[in-house]
């Protein structure tokens, strides 16, 4: 296989993703794990760029790193004052988790094995087309309008529910 700059950068991102994902599951300190997850999510965003999904890459960073990960850390910091917060793993969890992971691995391997040879879009001279307008049209014009609207209403309901639960009761 010809080694080009692109492949080098790709393997860089792949290594970054896998290495930090390994750190996420092996590190005992939960905050360290959360920050390793940040690197993983960045790596996945980089891989999205290689799949020519530019909008998805930025969304990945903005939603997962800027939103969900911050929420996780916020929760950890609010609930534990200690610096060394360690994860305790029990035998039952280990077996259950291992089983589920193995099943997932088998599923993914089956998918990879049954997929015909992957075509690299950029190899046959296909020019990169921005995805934003296509995503927008699909969501608002064609097949995905209903799921999109249902998801947004669901999120709104969740938002109102969260506000209602966390609100301080004021009665007078």
């Amino acid at each position: 296989m010809e080694i080009t700059l692109k492949t080098l950068i790709f393997y860089g991102f792949a290594l970054m993703t896998i290495g930090s994902a390994f750190a996420v599951v092996t590190v005992r300190n939960i905050v360290h794990a959360a920050f390793a997850l940040m690197v993983t999510l960045f790596g996945v965003a980089g891989l999205y760029v290689f799949l020519q999904a530019d909008f998805l890459a930025a969304t990945q960073v903005i939603v997962y790193v800027g939103g969900i990960l911050v929420l996780i850390l916020f929760g950890v910091m609010m609930t534990s004052g200690r610096l060394q917060m360690r994860i305790h793993i029990e035998r039952g969890q280990l077996i259950l988790g291992g089983g589920i992971t193995l099943a997932l691995l088998m599923l993914l391997l089956t998918v990879i094995a049954n997929t015909p040879k992957w075509k690299n879009l950029s190899d046959d001279g296909t020019v990169f087309v921005p995805t934003t307008s296509r995503i927008g049209k699909l969501i608002l014009n064609e097949a995905f309008l209903l799921p999109f609207e249902i998801a947004s209403v669901l999120l709104l309901v969740a938002l109102i529910g969260a506000a209602l639960i966390s609100r301080k009761e004021i009665r007078d």
Partner: protein, 407 residues
Amino acid sequence: MSEILPSSFFIQIQDASGNWASDFVENVIIPKIPHFPVELGTVLVMIACAGIFVAVVPLLPLVLVLAERKVAARFQNRTGPMRVGPWGTLQTLADGVKLIFKEDFIPPQGDKLLFLLAPYVIFACSFAVFAAIPFSQEIIVSDFNIGIFYIMAISSVIVMGVIMAGWSSNSKWSLLGSLRSAAQIVSYEIPLGLSILTVIMLVGSLSMTDIVATQENGFFSWLIFRSPFTFLAFFIFFISSIAEVNRTPFDLPEAESEIVAGFHTEYSGMRFALFFIAEYANMFAVSAIGVTLFLGGYEGILPGYDFLGGLPGFVIKTLGLVFLMMWLRWTLPRLRVDQLMNLCWKYFIPISFFNILGTGIWGLIFKTDDIWSIGISCTIIYVGLISAYVIAGRVFSRKPEPQASSV
């Protein structure tokens, strides 16, 4: 080679003829060293350009810190730094040299790895934002098709660095500061994003150069005057971005009188300087984004003339916004936490949603930007401002003066 990939992750200084870096390699390096690999050469040229960029941008804080101190001095009727260099102009340089030689103290009870990493996360993110800012027609590091979205994504990572710094210091002040900062940045990202969305709705593109290109017909084609809703959105954007960069009146994360210095309490020496540089670089970056989105970017004031356009015009407009931030800092007192959250969730977010609805209707009524739409928009803005002034005057003058609190 790089047109194969989306241009993200490849730094390219662009000009009209396309990829500057590979052209440079083919025209300059190849004639001298015939068998030099083009790809490697391109990467080296790109890295060199990025290096120049990373070296130049920290000079901004050098100027801005001095400007801040001088502005503060003016506001408080004193002279500010006067000793180092003529009128104290070399004061920041002296401070920087001093900070380099200070001890780099690491709290022994803290989390060493994260403590060392945190300044770099913040520094890298605040500098990565500059990659998508168009300084002029030629000077843009990379013209992504998702420019503004990329900027929002990258700047949302800064909060991770803040949390990292606050948590790893193992200090109550730091932790409180970083928690406040996280809450504030995550909250104010919503009105910020929504007000950017009004601009994107009118322009129909996420690319920074496309956004500037629609404002090329002088002062009245600037997006801030394009509709009454973008006018409103600009102010929400500006105030939210002040909150995003943690400056007074939203400087709760580093409130000196309450929590020492917030998330960077435990930092010293050059690591503290990195936070400091990042803060001023952020300030410049959000002002530059504001100028690009609402105030015409690098386009001039008059249609057809280059007056106040290009790089000088862009920098002048941006520094104007930076000055406004400094002005606010030395004029307004700090908000309380509940006031901060009220302002965001009860006022800015509903107004932003109203803005989006209004912009959608505006876009339906005025399909193109002709003299009529801009004229009507400016009239509405004018009438709105006058009536807001009058109403505010009536409301606030009727209120009786609050009684002096019981002694």
